[in-house]
């Protein structure tokens, strides 16, 4: 037993006891404890094992600076991996297990690895495991790697809230400097947010100070908090600022309790005051990884916040002026304290599993705890995220904030200001942009850096087992830059992100190479400052809220009619109605009429005096000759000449066109049109309105379509309504637009009405259609109907290579003289190749099954089979009575009647090249009536 709870003191409630287990044993803590403080209070000394050698590990630090105490935690039915014991508050019923230790941290069977440490220096796996093959060794290594265990269960409702918030001043860190700065700014009229990652404000204030500005620390903190809130400031405890991003964006993770996702706050701060404090650097000495070796500052914090004295016989090993006051505090709490000057010789920790003494300069001292500090390191991560520079301060033997990022300042220990009074005045000044008074520092430190060449091992990274010898090895092998050092040895890459190892590591490298510390420099600081759950970034974007689908106005009608709804082009649309029988729906459309919700079809209106020349430029086809009231089919190309979208364009007036593009492309086509509108045109003469949402559409298609139309009271002379024309009329006293266009090859009418009339329209069409055998059809049937006519679907029957002349539309390429998008791309060597893949139809032998979409057409050559094309669409066609397919095939149009080999998953079949228009090639059905 070493640590114990003192009778009085700490920000805990001794009355409220909490039961928990660790590695199967029962313990008790109190409200306000972290798991670490509770275990220390119970005298538990071994809380984990190191990653590589499985050496026993005790708690080192008190908050985010601990690399050793990492547990898999279960509470009721929620399990979380890799929970740091020092930052996880104790809850009744918690069950903790040390990660990567079996059966327990105390008795890990892999502890035997340490015997073979000589064979496992840094980077040893680069030098071996090559023969016979890495795969032989990898599975074993993967099982041994990793820390916590991830269960497969999903925590229901584990979803972070996310909020945006603004302020004039964001103060990060609620210790004395942060509290003082926040109060000053709030009272000066600024909107202030003060965040601190502890549940109680005060930071490191409780550790050292008897009183502050005449009152006890707890009182002072309370006073500051009240004053800040009274002045309109916002206090956010239990909230960690974990990243600073471009444009003054700071991300906060607000703790909501165990098993709940933290809340993400995105703060846009006009100014930021970083008052994040400083942490102890370990002392690098022989066997310094023994459980019982701890941070000096950490020990003071355990006492002040948690009422835990970490040991009884305590040795203090340090090099700076904080030592004596710290020793006094520990003595007053009941510890037997001996102070050792770390600069006066080489220390060595004694003990096998746990510390039982320290040897220095030939003398031995018994102790159960050794508190080490080679100085304070300001916590500057956020400064670096924001692009601020660091300066090396010889007097402090630390990197401190240097050239500031715009709008960011640092105060207090984070800025290297370790004296309390200085910190307060500095923070108060910087918070309001006032000049900082000149200050004298009382902090004295004799630089103490790792000394290479000692016999025993000296640890730099406790979790990853990186020792000074590893750094010597890295230097010897010329992995000398600080980034190479880090990656080669893995120092600083553990879950503590190098908070206790980076400084000592780079100082060691500096010493080895005879360079100064600033010359060696630091590695890149990146968010998150502490590990944060991935769920924090996800927010509510799950399930239906992840890439939500667009919904049809008529969805209720489709559901009522028993439709199967599916995702098509970003919309939730009826795939089919009732029991899945696509054949039935296709035949219904061919023999009577199909009724289809075509609302997703784009309706992009182009208006203005230059609209005509504009659409003529946008389209591959000539549009300028399109008459008012007429419709034309056309392609939009990329600048490279590739087919980007197809659709129809209607001319409503001289200056008014409606582009009906594919439903999945509406946003991108609108954006492309806007982009071209602004490029080389007078933008006041062309306007583009995406009106897709304003005009739901019902399509009636089939031989009986006209009969149905006649009953709809649309005031159109159906006898004078040729294919590819447009009528504007009224339906139930509202505007209606009717286009006679067809995607099925039968007479089709697309009726668009306002949103508040479409239910009536749908009902009327259904009613009129029923006695004629007409009924609703879904997207699946539509896909078959259009394929029967050889109509393409862009993105399915075309890809990133297909040009319009591959699809049989060659005239504009040859004849259109006006400039258009993609023109140049249509005349490259590639565009002129003779063996381009062209759209054809395919017929299978009698009795054969439909081809697989994605099957390739192949030809034999000297080197074997090679692909000459691909099947893009394939269906059983009820109208034709046999399977049909569309394909892109090299020199396709020259191969009519040829039988080709189809290759699919190593199986071969044959198919004959035919025209892609399987049904009614002369278009009689289209133009009927």
């Amino acid at each position: 037993m070493s640590g114990f709870r003192i009778a009085k003191g700490g920000l805990i409630n001794r009355e409220q006891t909490l039961d928990f287990t660790f590695d199967g044993r029962k313990y008790q803590g109190v409200k306000g404890d972290t798991l670490a403080s509770a275990l220390l209070a119970n005298g538990v000394r071994i809380v984990g094992r190191s990653f590589k050698y499985h050496r026993p590990r005790g708690v080192w630090g008190v908050w985010f600076d601990d690399p050793n105490a990492i547990f898999d935690l279960t509470l009721k039915d929620v399990s979380l991996p890799n929970c740091p014991a020092t930052t996880t508050h104790l809850v009744e019923g918690m069950s903790a297990r040390a990660v990567n230790a079996y059966p327990s941290a105390q008795f890990d069977i892999k502890g035997v690895f340490d015997r073979f440490h000589r064979f496992m220096p840094a980077g040893f796996y680069y030098k071996t495991f090559k023969w016979p093959h890495w795969h032989l060794f990898e599975p074993v290594i993967r099982k041994m790697a990793g820390l916590g265990h991830l269960g497969s269960e999903i925590i229901e409702g584990y979803q972070s809230e996310q909020h945006n918030i603004r302020c004039d001043l964001l103060v990060i860190g609620g210790g004395p400097a942060g509290l003082a700065g926040a109060q000053a700014a709030a009272q000066a009229g600024q909107s202030v947010i003060l965040v601190d990652d502890h549940p109680e404000f005060g930071g490191g204030l409780y550790r050292r100070s008897k009183d502050i500005e005449g009152v006890k620390p707890a009182q002072w903190v309370a006073r500051q908090c009240r004053a800040i809130e009274a002045a309109g400031g916002r206090l956010m405890p239990a909230t960690t600022a974990f990243g600073v991003y471009d444009h003054n964006m700071v991300a906060l993770a607000q703790d909501k309790g165990f098993g709940l996702a933290p809340t993400l706050w995105r703060v846009r701060a006009k100014r930021i005051l970083m008052a994040t404090g400083a942490t102890d650097r370990p002392v690098t000495f022989a066997n310094n990884d023994r459980p019982g070796v701890m941070s000096l500052d950490g020990a003071l914090e355990y006492l002040a916040r948690y009422g835990v004295l970490v040991g009884r016989k305590i040795a203090v090993l340090s090099n700076n002026s904080f030592v004596e006051p710290a020793a006094e505090i520990l003595r007053r709490a009941g510890g037997e304290v001996r102070v050792l000057d770390a600069t006066q010789g080489q220390a060595k920790a004694l003990g096998n599993k746990v510390l039982h003494g320290v040897e220095m300069n030939g003398q031995r001292f018994d102790c159960d705890t050794l508190l080490a500090s080679s100085g304070l390191t300001p916590v500057v991560h956020l400064w670096r995220h924001a692009g601020g520079k660091l300066d090396w301060d010889e007097n402090l033997a630390a990197f401190i904030p240097g050239k500031a990022p715009d709008n960011m300042r640092a105060a207090g220990a984070a800025n290297g200001t370790f004296d309390l009074d200085n910190a307060l005045s500095e923070a108060r000044a910087k918070a309001i942009g006032a000049p900082v008074p000149k200050q004298k520092s009382t902090y004295r430190i004799t630089p103490l850096w790792p000394k290479p060449d000692a016999k025993a091992r000296q640890w730099i990274d406790f979790q990853h087992d990186v020792t000074l010898k590893d750094i010597e090895l890295a230097a010897r092998e010329n992995y000398a830059s600080v980034e190479h050092l880090k990656r080669y040895t893995t120092l600083g890459m553990a879950s503590d992100q190098g908070k206790t190892s980076n400084m000592t590591g780079l100082a060691a490298m500096a010493a080895l190479q005879g360079r100064s510390i600033p010359e060696v420099g630091t590695t890149t600081f990146r968010p998150p400052f502490v590990p944060v759950p991935i769920g924090l970034y996800g927010g509510a974007r799950r399930g239906q809220l992840f890439n939500p689908l667009k919904r049809l106005v008529l969805e209720d009608r489709h559901r009522a009619a028993g439709a199967a709804l599916g995702e098509y082009g970003g919309w939730l649309r009826p795939g089919w109605y009732g029991a899945r029988d696509i054949t039935r729906e296709v035949l219904r459309a061919r023999n009577a009429a199909g009724i289809l919700d075509a609302s997703p079809l784009g309706k992009i209106e182009v208006m203005g005096p230059d609209a005509a020349s504009f659409v003529n430029f946008i389209y591959y086809n000539t549009i300028s000759t399109l008459k008012t009231g007429c419709i034309r089919y056309g392609f939009m190309l990329t600048e490279g000449g590739i087919v980007y979208d197809d659709g129809v364009i209607a001319r409503l007036a001289d200056n008014h066109f409606v582009i009906s593009c594919s439903s999945s492309h509406v946003e991108s086509v609108t954006a492309a049109l806007e982009s071209w509108r602004q490029d080389g045109n007078d933008p006041d003469r062309i306007f583009i309105h995406d009106c897709t949402q304003n005009w739901p559409t019902v399509t009636v298609t089939g031989p009986k379509a006209r009969e149905i139309m006649a009953q709809l009271d649309l005031s159109i002379d159906l006898a004078d309504f040729p294919h590819m024309t447009w009528r504007e009329t009224r339906f139930k006293q509202a505007a209606a637009r009717v286009a006679r266009v067809s995607f099925t090859g039968d007479t089709s009418y697309e009726i668009s009405v306002p949103v508040d009339k479409v239910h009536a329209l749908w009902d009327a069409v259904i009613l009129a259609g029923k006695p004629l055998g007409a009924g609703p059809i879904g997207v699946e049937a539509l896909s078959v109907l259009r394929a029967e006519k050889g109509y393409i679907i862009v993105g399915k029957d075309t890809d990133g290579e297909v040009m319009p002349h591959d699809l049989g539309f060659a005239i504009p390429r040859a004849k259109k003289t006006a400039a258009f998008v993609g023109d140049r791309g249509l005349h490259t060597d590639n565009a002129n190749r003779e063996d381009r893949r062209q759209l054809v139809g395919l017929r299978v032998p009698d009795g054969a099954v439909a081809l697989a979409t994605g099957a390739h057409l192949v030809e034999k050559s000297a080197s074997g089979l090679h692909s000459i094309g691909v099947v893009t669409s394939s269906y059983n066609s009820p109208s034709i009575g046999q399977p049909i397919a569309l394909a892109l095939v090299e020199k396709g149009t020259e191969r009519m009647g040829e039988t080709l080999t189809i290759w699919h998953m190593d199986q071969q079949n044959t198919a004959t090249v035919v025209s892609p228009v399987f049904l009614d090639p002369k278009g009689a059905r289209l133009n009927a009536g």
Partner: protein
């Protein structure tokens, strides 16, 4: 000095004092036969193959920072050759095959783990595209399988098979030989191999200008002085446009930040690489236990080597959709590289247009998997002045002839 279990054993008993530097830190000479600008994976591999395959005598690699510190040290370590066009397949298969023998060849364990890659398909149309891709790969002689949902579940049970999945899994394209490698080791292995063959790797040497005399590139001005060379190859991902500008060459390249992420280390969760084009995210698990995660580009062109929150949220939301159980796993770190994106998502390998200066760039988000092939082919180009058959289709002139190799669909994520 050979790396082996034996030498490791021997040195273990000597306190590891006998290991030699992995590479020297030489001062640059005034002149070389070939200078390679860029000490990342491609540059170092080029130097290695120049020395090994072509016996070129005096070679220097000039690296602005520390070798391997650019995109080679920042990627998500995926190696695959599941591409659609035969030209791409030839390129990435060459690379895959070189990777398969690389650890032995370099005498440095790059930890190439061929544990397979799944490209998930979440609908019938996606399965059709998957079939098309698998067929294309198999016809090109590359291993590929089309898996159904049960096979995917067996391979990666951590993926989302819940009823409320936004993107239910219909199946996947599976390439068994694909996998991951240790990115730093690839750079270090090539560096050591090149150095052993006499290549001077000059770190902390920034090229400030390109010397062009009479329309011919003759050398470079650097922060360590003027260095002249017979031929110069630039392999500087993220800065290709800027460097080409020094020689007056304009490239059809836009540079964007590409972010990558790693989680805390976990006991094994997934053994393969999984990519969901619909979710916009892919991930794998490193041999140390962290989940390595990637997604699409940050929207704004930048040289910043850092990305921002919106893309982080997008990629990680996608990860949670792919594997909901990981929502509670903590993110350890994220970083970014700068990728050079070409109009067809395929690289540029070939002469620059200025005699004596050659380019290997434009790899977009896919440069790591291609390091061995990039080096191999670029070495051929620099040694002989002409293309290897496999690099010919990737010459800059394809943007004029229109013979693009548009792998937009294949890489799925950013382009």
């Amino acid at each position: 000095m050979t790396y082996s279990a034996f030498s490791l054993l021997r040195e273990a008993l000597r306190n590891h004092t006998g290991w030699k530097p992995a590479w020297r830190s030489p001062k640059p000479r005034a002149e070389y036969d070939v200078i390679i600008i860029g000490g990342g994976g491609h540059g170092l591999a080029t130097a290695y193959y120049l020395a090994k395959n072509h016996n070129v005598g005096r070679i220097a690699v000039l690296e602005k920072g520390w070798l391997g510190g650019g995109n080679t040290g920042r990627n998500t370590t995926v190696i695959r050759s599941n591409y659609f066009y035969p030209e791409s397949v030839a390129l990435y298969e060459l690379s895959m095959k070189l990777y398969e023998g690389l650890s032995r060849d370099l005498n440095y364990n790059v930890m190439f783990s061929q544990r397979g890659m799944l490209i998930l398909a979440h609908s019938q149309p996606e399965m059709e595209i998957a079939a098309r891709t698998v067929n294309a790969m198999r016809l090109n002689g590359v291993d590929a399988d089309l898996l159904g949902p049960e096979d995917v579940r067996k391979r990666a049970p951590v993926l989302n098979f819940r009823d409320d999945a936004r993107y239910p899994i219909h199946g996947a394209v599976f390439q068994g030989r694909a996998g991951t490698g240790r990115h730093d080791a690839v750079a270090w292995g090539y560096a050591r191999g090149a150095d052993q063959r006499g290549v001077d790797i000059i770190q902390n040497c920034e090229v400030l200008d390109v010397i062009v005399e009479g329309g011919v590139c003759k050398g470079v001005e650097t922060s360590k002085g003027t260095i002249r060379a017979g031929r110069i190859g630039a392999a500087v991902a993220g800065h290709s446009s800027a460097l080409a500008q020094m020689a007056g060459v304009s490239l059809p390249i836009q540079s964007y930040a590409l972010q990558a992420f790693v989680s805390e280390p976990l006991k094994p969760v997934i053994d393969t690489v999984a990519f969901s084009p619909s979710a916009g995210t892919y991930f794998s698990q490193s041999d140390k236990g962290g989940l390595v995660i990637g997604g699409g580009l940050d929207r704004v062109p930048s040289y910043g080597q850092r990305g921002n929150l919106p893309m982080q949220e997008a990629v990680l939301s996608g990860l949670i959709e792919m594997a909901p159980a990981v929502a509670k796993v903590k993110l350890l770190r994220h970083w970014a590289g700068i990728v050079d994106v070409t109009p067809d998502s395929s690289p540029v390998i070939g002469p620059s247009g200025v005699d004596g200066l050659f380019l290997n760039c434009g790899w977009g988000t896919g440069g790591f998997k291609a390091i061995p092939a990039g080096g191999y082919l670029f070495a051929h180009l620099l040694a002989t002045g002409t293309h290897h058959a496999i690099s010919r289709p990737f010459d800059l002139d394809r943007f004029r002839s229109g013979y693009l190799v548009d792998e937009g669909a294949a890489s799925g994520i950013a382009h």
